[in-house]
Subunit: 177 residues, 2 copies
């Protein structure tokens, strides 16, 4: 056993929703004491870095209820059960922006919030883009925006680009230049 | 009203814990239909980029129950009620690593998972480090590790560095070089 490991004593399921599942684990700590861990289970998600021929990144403007504000993000969405992340990336890019990618290439993956959630986010770079038709989900309202790298930094300053995957995508894009 | 805004019809509180609060909001969508949003409320957190004189970044190795594995992260912790993020950054760095920073400088802040959580994470760069004494919380078991930039990229490849704030901190460090 790993010297830091916390052994599960009991797991209490609190809520199972469409997006998240909340459970409370009672754990045995490395020092023999007990503690509780609040854990949000999430199916995982993808984000897509799609750069147009004009050297602009495709972003979507959407309202995020958890934040009570409208923000700019790279196209993204959660994994369907059993879905391959690369397939999900191509699907979400097309649904949200209308752009179809011939290929996607993995550029990063990370846990968004390891202190309380198991959400793993895969970021892909989209390649060989062609423009088709946007077709979002019934409860999804998004506007497509394309920005230059300088415009992205201005949006970060203004706070309109403000989420982990999008900030990381822009850092990644800058490192490639 | 913003054209994307989702108006709250009802809010149902599901669970209030030590770290997270879960609520379900019934919302009115821009098209007049109703939907539900699962929202995890979190007090917010800080992460600290601390580079030693030897040009190594300070990381902590710790077990994350949500992931069921031990990972390497920049020193971090959640905000106490009403706590200034910069104060929190200095406190968490000292508690987890024993290093005291004379100053911290904000370098980024982002929402970790805007699709379901309101957690805002502030990342600070620590300046003028002096070594004191590590003193973690009762239920916290961490080991301090310092890595060069190349070693960080190797750890990302191995999957031991795998969370948003730490990957972003390393991209940021690389951009500064």
């Amino acid at each position: 056993m790993n010297k830091f490991e916390e052994k599960t004593i009991t797991t209490e399921s609190i809520y199972s929703g469409k997006v998240v599942h909340l459970q409370i684990d009672e754990v045995l700590l490395p020092n023999g004491k007990k503690s509780k861990r609040e854990i949000v289970k999430h199916p995982g998600a993808v984000g897509v870095v799609a750069i147009t021929e004009e050297q602009k990144i495709l972003l979507v403007r959407q309202f995020r209820k958890a934040l009570e504000k409208t923000i700019l993000e790279i196209p993204a969405g959660k994994l369907e059960p059993g879905e391959d992340p690369a397939t999900c990336a191509i699907r979400e890019l097309e649904e949200e922006t209308g752009y179809c990618a011939m290929h996607v290439r993995p550029i990063a993956s990370f846990y968004t919030s390891p202190g309380f959630a198991d959400e793993l986010l895969y970021v892909y770079q989209a390649e060989q883009l062609t423009l088709g038709q946007q077709h979002t989900d019934d409860d999804e309202f998004v506007e497509v925006v394309s920005l230059t790298l300088d415009e992205c930094f201005a949006s970060i300053q203004k706070g309109e680009i403000c989420d982990a995957k999008t900030v990381l995508a822009i850092y990644h894009w800058q490192l490639l230049k």
